[in-house]
Symmetry: C2
């Protein structure tokens, strides 16, 4: 059985001058993968007729499925539709359903119909339109010489709606797809090289797995965590899963001391599970992370069941007045100190009436460092009324990455507390 | 004068199954662009010998510069180095400087040297090593048949250090590059289609600009804002800039009513400038956004000069007890209401002792909606002791996007307040 392979082509100058980070490709890749389609290449080209045509020609020689995003908006810098007409040797015709759709959408928003809005209903005659429930520009499905091409808008929300409602179901019936399955083990506390050393024989064993199932291991470092992902490919889902589960069991057995979770889950979601399971609540007291930990925790749907709130004490006055950190403590130890983060935990527990609190204070850069406390010095703490753990780090990256790392380390410390305390 | 064109090849299965979002490409694209190098294509391929070789062959036929990231770590799923040896018909030899570097790095971290660490000092004989000040795997610079290839690790922090310290300076001397210049106008309050309508003649005029300078206009919607970016390309920096400035002046003159800023700046940085200029301070009181606004505001270096802190009142008890929102108000209007966000502003101003406060309360989904207040209902407010503006929105996206939109709308409301109030 052959793998169905695909290419994603993203169109738009903004991707080539760095103004936009391509999040569409990762989303599409995940969905294709779940659907048993192997994404072989991703190609980004600018709003250039020649480059778009070249990409269509070259990729269609490699794979039977091409997904295209970008270049389908109402403004004049979009040229995708004309280029597709040229490539498929067809012409633009009015599409009645698409015209109605744009008309309704503008009416509902109380906006007049401009000529450039109307033109979104002009579609290549050779395509099957793909409805866009979330915007005005329809998608387009083409087939030529055995290759399927699907063109979608670049707006993530619109593209995602189209993929889920129409494109993925149609791909499922159009292609015969193998099973592609993943299992991810989350570990913490051991570096990538050392884990790899321990897994050397296990990895050799993966190459000896008899066809038709094959399994790959990938190492994915993620700040406080290291993710180990096994990917299995095989023709029969049940058989593929059985082989994968056997290998995943072996992997787990090799790393009991550093295993954090047996699913691909974020630290914030994992904390949510641990808190929910024990009916406990959480708050945060953040200085340098500026609310980022609270943001990550509340990014989990349903987090209101265990997260009560946060105090971002960016200045010392808020640490003192709101979190009741002692003036003496600040004076004696400085804001970035073990004593202060411990008092921040105590203050947050009392103010927010939670069972647990996370606290962070540090200097994330680029400015603010001193000889004794250089940029990158961070203290994190996690505690309950009974017990508080505190730890310091020296981060050496830029402000954004230091923030992300400090947040991960702080949440990982709460995880340790939860798992070594009453949660076990 | 020819443009110097480049391709970025990113290597790694994690990019093709959606486990990783490619932020490296956007960063590299920005830097190349600033250096006058036009990124023509971006290609992502998996950890597959054939696919990497194919990408190297195909891209080198198109452009004279290929930047490669990914696949240079210490674990067994990385194959880039071997494939590069095959492609450049060379072999791995020990590099003394790289070996010293790894040795020092591990010593400094108190870790033993493993064989797989040692092997990072094995480099293709045909390459010029690129020092890695931020990690253990050096980069590699190759030249073959007039094409430059630079291979770097996929870890963003390491790649960025290498680019800035070594790769960009070397590219500058190796290639003759034209000027690529941008000017961005930030607007707010008018939809993309309507702005495009007003700019129709201006856009036609861009096509009439005489060579050798050419200018393009791009529309980049960004939640509460719409960015209009002019890109100019020309052989002589001063001449190119003069043409660009003239056009940018015309663009500004066409949109005085909706212009927010004349630079490519984030809303949070813009707020920072406005607050700093007037010596004012800010705090936030966040319910549904869960600290995300505070996070964005504190992501700006130097924000401690005007940002004092935040209260994330995820539950009503915190709204009442910490922010002093009235129990009656909550009872009568519900937590998602104009009355509550106005009291949250008042509470934050008093608690955090700031001149301005932003408040948000809403239901961002997927759960929590009611018939009267469906998912997506959000109230935002921005105020000082004298005046508070409040506004409601009905967001229709997923939790993550709704959070980002609510934050942008709330910050934009403060911008309006600052610009229509004493700041003008």
């Amino acid at each position: 059985m052959e793998k169905t392979e695909a290419t994603i082509i993203t169109i738009g100058d903004e991707l080539l001058i760095g103004q936009t980070i391509d999040t569409n490709s990762a989303w599409m890749a995940t969905r294709l993968n779940e659907a048993g389609i192997w994404l072989r290449r991703r190609v980004a080209v600018g709003d250039s007729r020649e480059d778009i045509l070249q990409a269509l020609r070259e990729e269609s020689a490699k794979v039977p499925l091409i997904l295209i995003t970008g270049g389908l908006g109402p403004t004049a810098d979009d040229i995708t539709k004309d280029v597709l007409c040229e490539y498929f040797d067809t012409r633009l015709v009015w599409n009645e359903a698409a015209l109605q759709r744009v008309t309704q959408l503008l009416q509902r928003r109380g906006l007049p119909m401009l000529e450039r809005n109307r033109q979104q209903a002009l579609l290549p005659e050779a395509c099957t339109p793909v409805p866009n429930e979330r915007g005005s520009a329809p998608g387009m499905w083409f087939e030529k010489d055995g290759v399927v091409y699907v063109s979608m808008p670049g707006v993530p929300y619109e593209m995602q709606g189209m993929m889920e409602a129409t494109v993925l179901p149609r791909l499922h019936t159009r292609f015969h797809t193998p099973a592609i399955l993943h299992r991810t083990l989350l570990t913490s506390g051991m570096g990538e090289s050392f884990v790899a050393e321990r897994l050397a024989d296990f990895e050799k064993g993966l190459f000896a797995i008899p066809p038709p199932v094959s399994i790959k291991l990938a190492y994915l470092p993620d700040f406080a965590l290291l993710k180990l992902r096994l990917t299995a490919i095989g023709p029969v889902p049940a058989d593929t899963e059985a082989v994968l589960e056997r290998q995943f069991g072996q992997l787990q057995a090799l790393l009991p001391d550093i295993t954090v979770a047996t699913a691909d889950i974020t630290l914030e979601a994992l904390l949510g599970q641990l808190l929910l399971r024990n009916g406990r609540t959480l708050g945060t007291a953040e200085s340098c992370t500026g609310g980022y930990i609270a943001h990550r925790i509340t990014s989990v749907p349903g987090s209101s069941a265990y997260f009560k709130g946060s105090v971002v004490s960016y200045v010392n006055a808020v640490k003192q007045e709101v979190l009741k950190v002692g003036a003496d403590t600040l004076q004696q130890h400085g804001a970035v100190s073990e004593a202060v983060v411990r008092e921040m935990v105590t203050g947050a527990l009392a103010l927010l009436h939670t069972d647990y609190a996370i606290a962070v204070s540090g200097i994330l850069g680029p400015g603010g460092g001193t000889p004794e406390k250089p940029v990158g010095t961070v203290w994190v703490a996690a505690g309950s009324r009974d017990r508080t753990l505190a730890k310091s780090y020296h981060l050496r990256h830029d402000r954004q990455r230091n923030t992300a790392m400090a947040a991960s380390y702080a949440m990982n410390l709460l995880r340790t507390l939860l798992e070594t305390g009453e949660a076990l």
